[in-house]
Each structure stands twice: as C-alpha cells, then as structure tokens.
C-alpha cells in the first residue's frame, strides 16, 4: 500500500481518472475507520468517506499537474475528511433525535460478531468524545488510523510537537477514564 501511495501523486498528475480508483482503494479503510470515531455512527462515517473522495476528485480537477505531483496524499485527504467530520458534528448537534433514529436503523452488515465489534467502536467513541477536539483528532489519527505525527500535523495545521503532546495527553486522559470505569 505504501508503494502504491508513493507512486500515486505522479500517476494522478498524469491521468487522474485512471489513478483515482487506486487512491480510493489505498485510503478508504483509514478514512472510514477514523470517521467512525469522529461522527455518530457507521452511516455518517460512510457518507463522510464517500464525500471526502468525491471532493478530492473535484479538487484534483482544478489543480495543475505540478501541484498534484507534490501532494502529500494522506494528510491532504485527511484535511478534507476532518473538515467534513466537523461540519457534520455541527449540524448533528442541531438535530440529535435524527441521529438516534439513524443509529437504530443502521443495518449491521451481518453476524453477531460484527455487532460486538461495533459495540467496541461505540464504547470508544463515547470515551474519545470527552477529549478536547485536537487531542481526540490526534489520538484517533495516530492510534486508530495509523498516521505518523508528521502527517497528522500536516492534516490539522498544528505543529508536530504539539501533535505529540496532544496524543500523550489524550492517552493519559483515556487511561484515567478507564480506571474510573473499572473502580
């Protein structure tokens, strides 16, 4: 996958339409996994994932090849995704009932194991929501999605050292939280 990502900017610059599906393949799981934590449910996460890549595709159409070749794709995609997650959180806070209804209507793609796994996702979403915005973003991008600090910093516009301390403080907060839960 890393090999794919490295060659993608030049391939996108040469032929956007041909290379674009590979960009989606390479990054869709990461975007979806992060969006699961940044939005209310799987339905929203799926929407955000789709919308992220659709916007990315349109943006690529307005960039010249040189700019595309220089793109750091993963942080670039995450800048778009984080923005969409924030917008969604804002509008969701205005209509909380709809969110609950969607949660219930959300069709898990199959067996019980999936439901248990999603319970895990939901449980951590609640814990992570008690963190500050930057801490939650940094913890999820680093530990769930697997982005290095430098790429998180590039996505959020914060410095790398701030990002490191965001992650450290976020983890400390989570630990306290879990210890309180276990008491």
């Amino acid at each position: 996958m890393i090999a794919t990502l490295n060659s993608l900017p030049s391939r996108l610059a040469a032929d956007r339409d041909r290379a674009f599906p590979d960009l989606v393949h390479a990054l869709q799981d990461g975007v979806y996994s992060g969006a699961l934590q940044f939005t209310r449910n799987g339905h929203d996460a799926q929407d955000v994932t789709q919308e992220t890549f659709i916007r990315a595709y349109r943006a690529l159409g307005s960039y010249d090849p040189e700019r595309i070749s220089d793109l750091n794709l993963r942080p670039w995609i995450w800048t778009i995704a984080l923005n969409l997650c924030r917008n969604r959180a804002r509008s969701a806070s205005r209509r909380p009932e709809a969110a609950l209804a969607e949660d219930r209507a959300e069709a898990g793609p199959g067996p019980e194991a999936q439901a248990i796994a999603d319970a895990e996702v939901n449980e951590w979403r609640v814990r992570l929501s008690t963190l500050s915005g930057p801490q939650r973003t940094a913890v999820v991008l680093h530990h769930v999605v697997g982005l290095p600090y430098s790429e998180i910093a590039a996505s959020t516009g914060r410095t790398e050292s701030t990002t490191r301390s965001d992650v450290r403080r976020g983890l400390a907060r989570l630990r306290t939280l879990i210890e309180e839960e276990n008491r």
């Binding site: 339409d17 674009f20 599906p21 989606v24 393949h25 869709q28 799981d29 990461g30 975007v31 979806y32 996994s33 699961l36 934590q37 799987g42 799926q46 994932t49 789709q50 890549f53 659709i54 595709y57 349109r58 793609p109 796994a117 895990e120 996702v121 951590w124 913890v139 999820v140 530990h143 769930v144 999605v145 697997g146 983890l171 989570l174 630990r175 879990i178 210890e179």
Partner: protein, 257 residues
C-alpha cells in the same frame, strides 16, 4: 494501572474496512463508473448505462447478448441496477418515445471536441427525417470533413438516442450502421420513413425537392418537403440546379450553405 500498550492495542483494533459498495458509489458519483439497466427501446430491448453526467451508452441487447457481455464491452466499470434514477428515467422514456433527446443528459466527456460537435448536430435531426453526412460537415463549419463525420457517427456511444441512423450517404443510399444497415432501415421505418422509396428516389438522381408555389427547395424528408403536392413538386440533382431554377434553400432543413 492500565498499560499504555494495551490501550493503544485496543485503539488500533478499532479500525474497520470501508463497507462494500463505498468505492462503487464514489466512482459513480465522480463519473468514473457507470450504472446500467435494460430498457425497451424503439426496436427491441437495449442496455443503457449512465454516469452522474448523463447517459454513457446505449446498446441494442440483440447485438451484445447477456449482461456479462455488456459489462465486458463497456469502457468503464458498470454496475447493474433495476432502473435509472427517477429524473433520468423520465427523460429517457420521453426520448425513446419521441425520438428526440429533449432534456436527456448525455455524457460525451470522453469524446473529442469534433466528435461532440458532430453528435450534437446529429441530435438536431428530427425523427422521420434524414440528412447526408455532408450536411453535418457543413453545418459544423468543416465542409471537407465528410469522412471524419462518418467515423465520428460510427463511434456514437448512444445510437438511437443520438440518431446517427438519420444520417445517410450523400448519394442517397442508406449507408452503413454500427449494428448493421438492416437495423438502420428498421429504425427509419419505425419513424415512418420508407427506406426503399428513399433509395429509389436517390437512384433516379434526385437529391433535393422544391415547391413551385413557394420557390423553396428542401431535403426530400424535410417536414416542409413532405407537404408539397405532386402537382407542385420539382426535383433537383443538386443545389446548383435548384438555385439556377430560381429556388432558394429551406431555412428549416438548410440543404445548401
């Protein structure tokens, strides 16, 4: 005290694959993949594919066979669905019923400017009428490009909808068609044209007809030409002959420059 690596291990285990179908929907909405279905066309069923920009393909089912064969020959990834989105379905039904594009969007983004121009011009030809290849070449301001017009029409991704069957040879013969000249004849007959009679007229050397009451000459299938009664009908081999007789070109079918 919880160990940090246990906690980070649990966070890493929260990663989930994107659900099935996400990439398909992204590719459809960016116009990189299509959906398609089977509809009842004017002369038999046809596969119709579309992107978010409009119809991308129209293929007579008889010419390709099963769905798998259509998917294999289609230029992009195509996913079968039961029906087009409602708005597209409405315009598609109307286009098939009337023989006119109307507001049906067609995605010609993969074609060259020249091909697009040729096809747009072709789409102006009303049902039940025919025009020679040379007419399109002249109308798009490229009178020498008759052969290129033929090639562009031969690669029409949406035949029937963009009516390349209404474009015939300059000598009046019906000419070739991507799905065989007999299908071209069937389509013209379906629109009320008598292909045998058209070719018989052409064999007599008649290219244009005029009315001696109006002094206007037309292509033989122009709606104005169809109103000329036998007693007032004049026949011409060329626009020069018609003009020499004092006739002027019809402003609807524009048979001369």
């Amino acid at each position: 005290m919880i160990q940090e690596d246990i906690m980070t291990g649990k966070l890493a285990a929260l990663s989930r694959p994107a659900p099935d179908g996400v990439i398909e929907r992204i590719l459809i909405r960016t116009g990189l993949a299509d959906e398609y279905t089977l509809i009842e066309g004017p002369i038999g069923s046809a596969y119709v594919a579309w992107s978010d920009r409009g119809i991308t393909a129209f293929v007579p089912a008889a010419a390709v066979g099963p769905r798998s064969a259509f998917e294999a020959r289609h230029a992009r990834k195509a996913t079968y669905v039961l029906a087009p989105p409602p708005r597209l379905a409405r315009h598609l039904d109307r286009a098939v019923a009337t023989g006119r594009l109307g507001r049906l969007p067609i995605d010609l983004s993969s074609l060259s400017d020249f091909q697009r121009e040729v096809l747009r011009k072709c789409a102006e030809i009303p049902p039940g009428e025919i025009r020679p290849y040379g007419w399109i070449a002249r109308e798009i301001g490229n009178p020498g490009a008759v052969r290129a017009v033929g090639t562009a029409l031969g690669r029409n991704p949406v035949p029937v909808l963009i009516p390349c069957h209404r474009v015939v040879r300059t000598d009046g013969r019906i000419g070739s068609y991507a799905y065989g000249s007999s299908m071209k004849r069937d389509l013209l007959e379906h629109e009320g044209l008598d292909s045998a009679a058209i070719e018989a007229t052409a064999r007599r050397g008649v290219r244009l007809v005029g009315s001696d009451t109006t002094g206007i000459f037309c292509f033989p299938t122009c709606r104005n030409a169809k109103r000329i009664t036998d007693a007032h009908r004049a026949e011409f081999r060329s626009e020069e002959e018609a003009m020499a007789g004092g006739y002027r070109a019809c402003k609807v079918c524009r048979p001369a420059a």
